[in-house]
């Protein structure tokens, strides 16, 4: 069994990112979408948490949402992969189920 987790809120505004990190087991996939993409950026006050998560989970960020917000791949924490909507669909199919942290 494997789970894809999605987070769609800014980690500076809401607790869903932190709840996702603490409720996802090792080897889970986590995809940041919508305002969740702000969690993928380097040098933020929560970057350490994401850094630790990258070591044992697969972390993805949705490219179209990243670009919309004026962010680019150079600003991402090392180890985070960018996917497009086709990649989002692939992640949903590649995992057995989806937990959307709303």
């Amino acid at each position: 069994m494997s789970t894809l987790h999605t987070v769609n809120k800014s980690p500076f505004e809401k607790n869903s990112m932190s709840s996702c990190l603490s409720h996802s087991v090792a080897d889970s996939a986590i995809l940041m979408i919508e305002d969740g993409v702000y969690g993928a950026i380097k040098n933020t006050s929560i970057a350490g948490d994401i850094d630790s998560a990258v070591k044992e989970k697969s972390i993805y960020v949705l490219g179209p949402d990243l670009k919309a917000r004026g962010l680019n791949e150079d600003q991402l924490i090392d180890g985070i992969s960018v996917v497009d909507y086709a990649g989002f669909v692939e992640l949903v199919c590649a995992n057995d189920k989806v937990q959307n942290w709303l």
Binding site: N8, I33, E90, V92, K97, V98
Partner: protein, 130 residues
Amino acid sequence: MKLAIQINEGPYQHEASDSAYLFTKAALQAGHEISRVFFYHDGVNNGTNLTTPPQDDRNIVKRWSELATENELDLVICVAAAQRRGIVDQGEMERNGKSAQNVADGFRISGLGQLVEAAIEADRLVVFGD
């Protein structure tokens, strides 16, 4: 693969409906089947035919209607949530003595059982919300 989609928020206020639309389109392009799109909570407001969004912006309701027609999608609006929020089809209009119906093309109103059924029949449930 068979995918079911749930949308919890209305048009424009939250990105949920946009994300769900782009996800659905990408899933169809990849050859997957969308067994149902279920509009719940404020998500029912995506199914009103009374919007006139700014001309330089996307028309959220219209593009759902078009996607449904082109791909024979089943767009279901939850009746209980719709009654709380004022989304009404012909039958609901007559039953509840309302002055109008406002369900957009390609949407239908039905019960919550449709969500549970979709979750049983589909291989995956993906939820978009606030």
